[in-house]
C-alpha cells in the first residue's frame, strides 16, 4: 500500500560516519553478495566480462573533494544507500503498491511480485537509492537487510545489516533512530548528525556524521611551541643537560629491586 503509515513503531536506519569512512567499498560488495542470495531477485550484472559492465548495486560509495577558503583540499568518501525516509516520495508515487514503508520499523521495501518496473519510484527518489534491475525488470533497493536483522536462524549478534557487519572501519551504525536513547541517536546527537537534501522534505531516517574539522590550516600551528623549548644550543650544552637528566631518572638511584 503506497499510503505512508501515519507513524512507525520504530525508525530503523543507518548512521554513517563520514569522518571514519575510508572508502574501501566493503559495504558495497557485501551488500551485493547478501542481496544476490537473499531478498527478491538476484542483483544482476550485464556484460559482466565485457566492454561495458553494469550491474545492480544497492549501496555505492562516492567520493567528494572539499576545497576550503584556506588550507589544503580534503577528500570525503561517501557511502549512499536508501535512507528509509519518513516521507518517502518513492512510496507514494508507486502505482502498484509494490513500494511500501513498513509500519513496525519504517523500512521501505519493494514487493517485487507486485512491481511492474515502471521506474517512477526511482524518479521520485532524490538520492539515487533505487535501481531497476536490467535483467529482472523489477526495482531493487536497500532492504535494510530486513531478512537479516530479524533472522532467527542467525545468531543474535549477526542480526545487523550485512554492510554494517562487514565495515572494517566501523563507519556504519545500525539502530532505532526513533528512540532518542538508542546508541545511534546518541551518536547523532553527539556528532551533529545531518540529513541529506533536507529541502526535499523526505525526512530521511539515515543520518550522516560530518567529517570532524581538519587540523591542517596555517593558524592551527603555533600553540605547541613551548613543547619544543630547547634544552641546549650546542653539543656540549646538550651533554650537560643529558648528564643532569640522567641523574633525575628514577633508575639512577637504583631504587628498583633486583630479583
Amino acid at each position: 500500500m503506497t499510503d505512508l503509515p501515519a507513524s512507525t513503531d520504530r525508525k530503523l536506519g543507518l548512521v554513517i560516519d563520514l569522518d571514519t569512512c575510508v572508502g574501501c567499498h566493503a559495504c558495497v560488495i557485501s551488500c551485493k553478495g547478501w542481496n544476490t542470495e537473499n531478498y527478491g531477485a538476484p542483483l544482476s550484472d550485464a556484460d559482466a566480462y565485457g566492454g561495458d559492465p553494469s550491474g545492480t548495486f544497492l549501496n555505492r560509495v562516492h567520493s567528494y573533494e572539499i576545497t576550503p577558503e584556506e588550507g589544503p583540499a580534503q577528500l570525503v568518501h561517501f557511502p549512499k544507500s536508501c535512507l528509509h525516509c519518513e516521507d518517502a516520495p518513492c512510496v507514494t508515487v508507486c502505482p502498484t503498491g509494490a513500494s511500501y514503508k513498513r509500519s513496525e520499523d519504517g523500512i521501505v521495501l519493494v514487493n517485487e511480485d507486485a512491481c511492474i518496473g515502471c521506474g517512477l519510484c526511482a524518479w521520485a527518489c532524490p538520492y539515487g537509492a533505487r535501481e531497476l534491475d536490467a535483467l529482472e525488470g523489477v526495482m531493487k533497493k536497500c532492504t535494510l537487510c530486513v531478512d537479516r536483522i530479524y533472522n532467527n536462524t542467525l545468531p543474535e549478534i549477526d542480526r545487523v545489516p550485512s554492510c554494517v557487519r562487514t565495515c572494517p572501519a566501523g563507519a556504519r551504525h545500525f539502530g532505532d533512530l526513533g528512540d532518542p536513547d538508542s546508541d545511534v541517536s546518541q551518536l547523532v546527537a553527539a556528532r551533529g548528525g545531518m540529513d541529506l537534501m533536507p529541502e526535499q522534505g523526505t525526512k530521511p531516517v539515515n543520518k550522516y556524521l560530518p567529517p570532524r574539522p581538519k587540523q591542517d590550516r596555517a593558524e592551527d600551528l603555533d600553540s605547541l611551541a613551548p613543547y619544543l623549548a630547547p634544552v641546549a644550543e650546542d653539543q656540549s650544552g646538550f651533554l650537560g643537560w643529558l648528564d643532569k637528566a640522567l641523574d633525575r631518572l628514577p633508575g639512577a638511584r637504583s631504587d628498583e629491586e633486583m630479583s
Binding site: 503506497t2 499510503d3 563520514l18 558495497v28 561495458d52 553494469s54 550491474g55 548495486f57 555505492r60 560509495v61 562516492h62 567520493s63 567528494y64 573533494e65 572539499i66 576545497t67 576550503p68 583540499a73 580534503q74 577528500l75 570525503v76 561517501f78 549512499k80 516520495p89 508515487v93 508507486c94 502505482p95 502498484t96 503498491g97 509494490a98 507486485a114 512491481c115 511492474i116 518496473g117 515502471c118 521506474g119 517512477l120 526511482a122 524518479w123 521520485a124 538520492y127 539515487g128 535501481e131 531497476l132 534491475d133 536490467a134 529482472e136 525488470g137 523489477v138 526495482m139 545531518m194 540529513d195 541529506l196 537534501m197 533536507p198 529541502e199 526535499q200 522534505g201 560530518p210 567529517p211
Partner: protein
C-alpha cells in the same frame, strides 16, 4: 532525464488523443457516422497507442493491471483509472455517434472532463517530482494541458480555437523553458545540500562510485549541450506552434493546410517532448558531479 522514445511517444500521443477526445466529447465538431468513425479512430489510436507505448518501458508489462490499485496516492495509478474511464465513457459516446448516429451530450461532457483529467494526471506524474525541479511547477500541467488542448483542437479541425490555443501553449512553452532553466538553481538542492559537506568549503564530485555506468546514470543523467538545446527549442517553437498557427490563419485550402499544420505540430511537439525529458535535471545527477554545483 533519459529521453526514452517510449515516454516521448506516450506523452505526446496520449496528450493528442485525449485532447481530440475532449473536443469530440464536447461536440466540436459535432460529428457522427463515418466522419466520426474516422476521427475517433485517430483519437483512440493516439490515446491507446500512447498508453501502450508507455508500457514498453515497464520491466513487467504483464503486471500492468496492478497499476490500478494505488489511486489514493499515485498519480500514475490515477492516470490509469482516468484514462480507462475516459476511453470507456468516450467509447459509449463514440459508439452512439458512429453507429447510432446519436450524440449523448451528457456522456460526451463527462468523457471530455475525464479526458481532461487524464491529461492532467499524466502531467502530475511529472509535476509532482520534487527531484526534477524543472518539472516541479504548475507550468508543467499548464504546458501539457495546453498542448493537449491545442493539439486536440487542431485534430478536431477547430481552426480558430486551435490557433488561439496554440498561441497560448506557445507562451506557456516559452515560460516553461524560461522558468525551468533556473529551476534547479532555485530549488535549493545542490551538491552542498546533497552531501551536507558545504560547511568546510566548496564541494566537488571527485570519483564516482564505479568506473562504468549504471541504471541511475542511464536513466537520470542526460546532458544536453546549450547549443543543441537552443536549436531544438527553435525547431519546437517553429514547427510545433509557429508554423501551424500561420497555416491555420491562411484562408485557402483548409484541409490540406490543416493536415500540414498537424504534421508540423507533431514534429515540433516531439522535439519539445524530447527536450522536456532530456533537459530535465534530476537532482541525483548532483551526486555524480553531472550537474553544476
Amino acid at each position: 532525464m533519459h529521453p526514452a522514445p517510449s515516454v516521448i511517444i506516450f506523452t505526446t500521443f496520449s496528450g493528442l488523443g485525449f485532447g481530440l477526445l475532449l473536443f469530440l466529447g464536447l461536440g466540436l465538431p459535432p460529428v457522427t457516422g463515418w466522419v466520426a468513425f474516422f476521427l475517433y479512430a485517430i483519437a483512440y489510436a493516439c490515446a491507446v497507442g500512447g498508453l501502450l507505448a508507455s508500457t514498453f518501458h515497464l520491466g513487467h508489462p504483464e503486471r500492468a493491471l496492478k497499476a490500478f490499485t494505488q489511486w489514493r496516492t499515485s498519480w500514475l495509478s490515477r492516470e490509469a483509472w482516468l484514462s480507462v474511464a475516459a476511453l470507456l465513457v468516450m467509447g459509449i459516446y463514440a459508439f452512439a455517434a458512429v453507429f447510432l448516429d446519436t450524440r449523448l451530450t451528457p456522456v460526451g461532457i463527462l468523457g471530455a472532463a475525464l479526458s481532461l483529467a487524464t491529461v492532467s494526471s499524466t502531467s502530475m506524474i511529472y509535476a509532482q517530482l520534487k527531484t526534477v525541479p524543472r518539472w516541479h511547477h504548475w507550468l508543467t500541467p499548464a504546458h501539457m494541458l495546453g498542448l493537449s488542448l491545442a493539439g486536440g483542437a487542431l485534430l478536431a479541425g477547430q481552426m480558430t480555437v486551435a490557433a488561439a490555443l496554440l498561441a497560448v501553449a506557445a507562451a506557456v512553452q516559452v515560460a516553461h523553458w524560461q522558468v525551468g532553466d533556473s529551476a534547479l538553481a532555485r530549488s535549493g538542492t545542490n551538491l552542498a545540500s546533497a552531501t551536507g559537506l558545504g560547511a568546510p568549503g566548496r564541494v566537488r564530485a571527485f570519483e564516482p562510485p564505479h568506473t562504468g555506468t549504471n541504471y541511475l546514470l542511464r536513466e537520470f543523467v542526460h546532458v544536453v549541450g546549450r547549443r543543441h538545446s537552443r536549436k531544438l527549442r527553435l525547431i519546437a517553437l517553429t514547427f510545433g506552434y509557429g508554423l501551424p498557427v500561420v497555416l491555420l490563419v491562411i484562408p485557402a485550402a483548409p484541409h490540406l493546410l490543416g493536415a500540414l499544420a498537424i504534421l508540423s505540430h507533431l514534429a515540433g511537439i516531439l522535439a519539445s517532448r524530447w527536450l522536456f525529458f532530456a533537459e530535465a535535471e534530476h537532482v541525483v545527477g548532483l551526486y555524480y558531479g553531472k550537474r553544476a554545483a
